[in-house]
């Protein structure tokens, strides 16, 4: 599903150049449930952004579902994101002025799916995360765990091949974290590849494979 070969990435400012990724080789197969671990500054978020086509890499090769992802235009990147990927963020990143249902339906809007079907599907996915009754609530009327579940429903609705989650439990307490992880497990059982960035050992333990990063390099297990 995902193959990385010698991925390098550095952030350049006017005077300094900071190499964040120093040659990552990585394979993630379809249906994997992977966590990427590492301390702050190890490059794990950068790696996830590259995987999510939100950020570009300098050298190396990244193939997603057999397609080489290199030098994409913004429009192409948007297309692949919409087609292959679902995102879950630490700070949920729901649009504050849209209800839960509208937030979930948003990716389908960019897939040009008619409004009525969007609404129906959004309700269906909200039900999957157990929030059907909260469909018309705004994000600030919901708890952190509920918001994250809405975000997961939003990531799932475009039927992605891969879900990328950046510290999805970082803002949640232990119990809610475990609830959220349960949902990820359920999703994974349906064959969707899940990649989670975390620095919490107990979260990483719930995944099938752990990738550890240290100072921009992969640490062999």
């Amino acid at each position: 599903m995902i193959h990385l070969k010698g991925i390098r990435k550095s952030y350049k400012t006017e005077f300094t150049s900071l190499e964040v990724l120093k040659g990552i080789d990585l394979s993630i197969e379809e249906g994997d449930f992977v966590s990427i671990m590492g301390s702050s500054g190890s490059g794990k978020s950068t790696l996830l952004n590259i995987l999510g086509l939100l950020d570009e890499y300098d050298t190396g090769e990244y193939t997603l579902d057999g397609v080489l992802m290199k030098d994409l235009s913004q429009t192409q990147a948007a297309l692949y994101r919409n087609q292959f990927l679902g995102f879950v963020f630490q700070s949920f990143n729901l649009l504050p002025f849209k209800s839960a249902k509208e937030n979930v339906a948003l990716p389908l809007y960019y897939k040009k799916i008619p409004r009525k079907i969007r609404q129906e599907k959004a309700l269906e996915y909200l039900e999957k995360v157990g929030l059907k009754d909260w469909a018309d609530h705004l994000p600030n009327q919901m708890s952190g765990g509920q918001q994250q579940r809405v975000a997961i429903a939003r990531a799932l609705i475009s039927e992605p091949k891969v879900i990328l989650a950046d510290e999805p439990t970082g803002a949640l307490d232990t119990q809610t974290s475990h609830d959220v992880m349960e949902i990820f497990k359920e999703v994974n059982k349906q064959g969707i590849t899940i990649i989670i960035v975390t620095h919490e050992e107990d979260i990483a333990e719930m995944t099938n494979k752990v990738i550890r990063l240290k100072d921009g390099n992969m640490v062999t297990e």
């Binding site: 999510g52 939100l54 913004q74 429009t75 948007a78 994101r81 919409n82 963020f89 990143n93 475009s158």
Partner: protein, 419 residues
């Protein structure tokens, strides 16, 4: 082309960010509102002042005589000159190329005019048929003096509206009578009323016209026993010829004929409407410059305001745009979203501004009515208003474009980090 979904998305965003929308709209609204109201007020003022001239021919000039102040050609100063029929003929011959209409007048000394048992002192003038073409009076009923009246020195009169109302109007005792065909007495002589005229001027000038009685010049010359003599005359000059030039030619001619010193400031007096009009027109040019200056200024500020707000909006929405991009929004869809939003808001606000300002100008019109001097019938040039609106919308789109492009290029990673 109409994308219902897109509009739904835009309405949704607009309605949930009311303050932002309101601030954007306010700048546009104010710009167009100020421009239109100023234009309306300016035109109202202009119409008001022009209406004081009424239907006066704008190319008319007046000529009269008075006492000389300089001795000349063996004649003493202080002599009174008198315009005659011969002078009129000489002028008509000499200025044939530029003269349009000529209407000499002779006043019949103030006297009581009576109809049955009613009597009042009115101004009685001997005039020619051409007066109707020159003076600010309109025929209301019947006919005006004609050439046959002139030739036959008929005892016919045309009366002003006030005169007609006073003599023939409805009052407590009597029903209204058709003035045409009635006889009124001037200096004990019967005159047949053949027409009624109404003044086209305003205020006191109108009252003066409406309280006048017009008879053929020849008749007036006869009844006052001043055969061939003229009190003064008014004439109009072809519009492509400067009135001032014609004025000088007539003055020189008359001075020569009456042996008045060419340098004498008196002796022959003239005046023309054109000069007066030119001065007032100069004032209007000033006012209209001011209107445009202020109007375009406020329009410009409206546009800058829209651009400014759009910049803030994009800043404000960086995170939202980041999320949308992560959800698969293409740069194009981001640009079109922000542009459509700005165009929609400017169009709507501009339209409301247009409607409200037209309403205000209409209220000004009603409030001023016809009684307020200097202000009449304010008008809005719809073409200019719509042009200004179009300009505002295009400018709104252009000023929205830069921030929209910026927004489209927002890196989702940075946008989402922006906590």
């Amino acid at each position: 082309m109409f994308d219902y979904d897109k509009w739904q998305e835009i309405f949704n965003t607009i309605s949930k960010n009311k303050l932002r929308t309101f601030l954007t709209a306010l700048g546009v609204f104010w710009g167009i509102f100020m421009l239109v109201v100023l234009m309306g007020a300016g035109s109202g003022f202009q119409n008001g002042v022009l209406a004081m001239f009424g239907g006066h021919a704008k190319n008319a000039m007046y000529v009269w005589t008075n006492r000389t102040t300089m001795p000349y050609d063996g004649l003493q100063a202080g002599r009174f000159t008198q315009i005659t029929n011969d002078d009129i003929k000489a002028i008509e011959n000499d200025l044939e190329d530029v003269l349009e209409y000529m209407s000499p007048r002779l006043y019949v000394p103030s006297t009581e005019v009576t109809y049955k048992n009613k009597g009042e002192a009115y101004e009685v003038r001997g005039d020619t048929p051409y007066l109707l073409k020159i003076d600010a009076i309109d025929l209301d009923q019947g006919r005006f003096i004609n050439q046959k009246d002139m030739d036959d020195r008929r005892k016919v009169v045309v009366i002003g509206m006030e005169v007609a109302k006073n003599f023939f109007g409805k009052n407590k005792k009597e029903e209204a009578v058709d003035p045409i065909g009635q006889f009124i007495k001037i200096q004990g002589v019967d005159y047949l009323v053949v027409g009624v005229v109404a003044s086209d001027r305003r205020g006191e000038d109108a009252t003066e016209d409406n309280k006048s009685i017009f008879m053929p010049l020849t008749t007036a010359q006869q009844v006052t026993n001043r055969h061939g003599k003229i009190g003064w005359f008014v004439c109009t000059i072809n519009t492509n010829y400067p009135v001032g030039l014609a004025e000088n030619r007539i003055k020189t001619l008359l001075k020569k004929r009456h042996r008045v010193h060419p340098e004498d400031p008196r002796g022959v007096g003239t005046d023309n409407v054109e000069e007066e009009l030119r001065e007032i027109m100069g004032l209007f040019n000033g006012i209209s410059f001011l209107v445009w200056f202020v109007g375009i200024g406020s329009l410009l500020f409206g546009i800058i305001g829209v651009g400014n707000i759009m910049l803030i909006v994009v800043k404000d929405r960086t995170k939202e745009i980041g999320i949308r991009k992560a959800m698969g929004a293409t740069p194009r869809s981001i640009v079109s979203m922000i542009l459509l939003e700005s165009v929609f808001i400017t169009t709507l606000a501009g339209y409301i501004g247009l409607v409200v300002s037209i309403g205000v100008v209409y209220l000004m019109k009603i409030a001023a009515g016809t009684d307020v001097q200097f202000f009449l019938n304010p008008q809005i040039d719809l073409k200019i208003s719509l042009g200004a609106l179009a300009m505002l919308i295009i400018a709104g789109a252009l000023t929205g474009l830069v921030p929209a492009m910026q927004a489209a290029n927002v890196n989702p990673v940075t946008a989402l980090k922006d906590e």
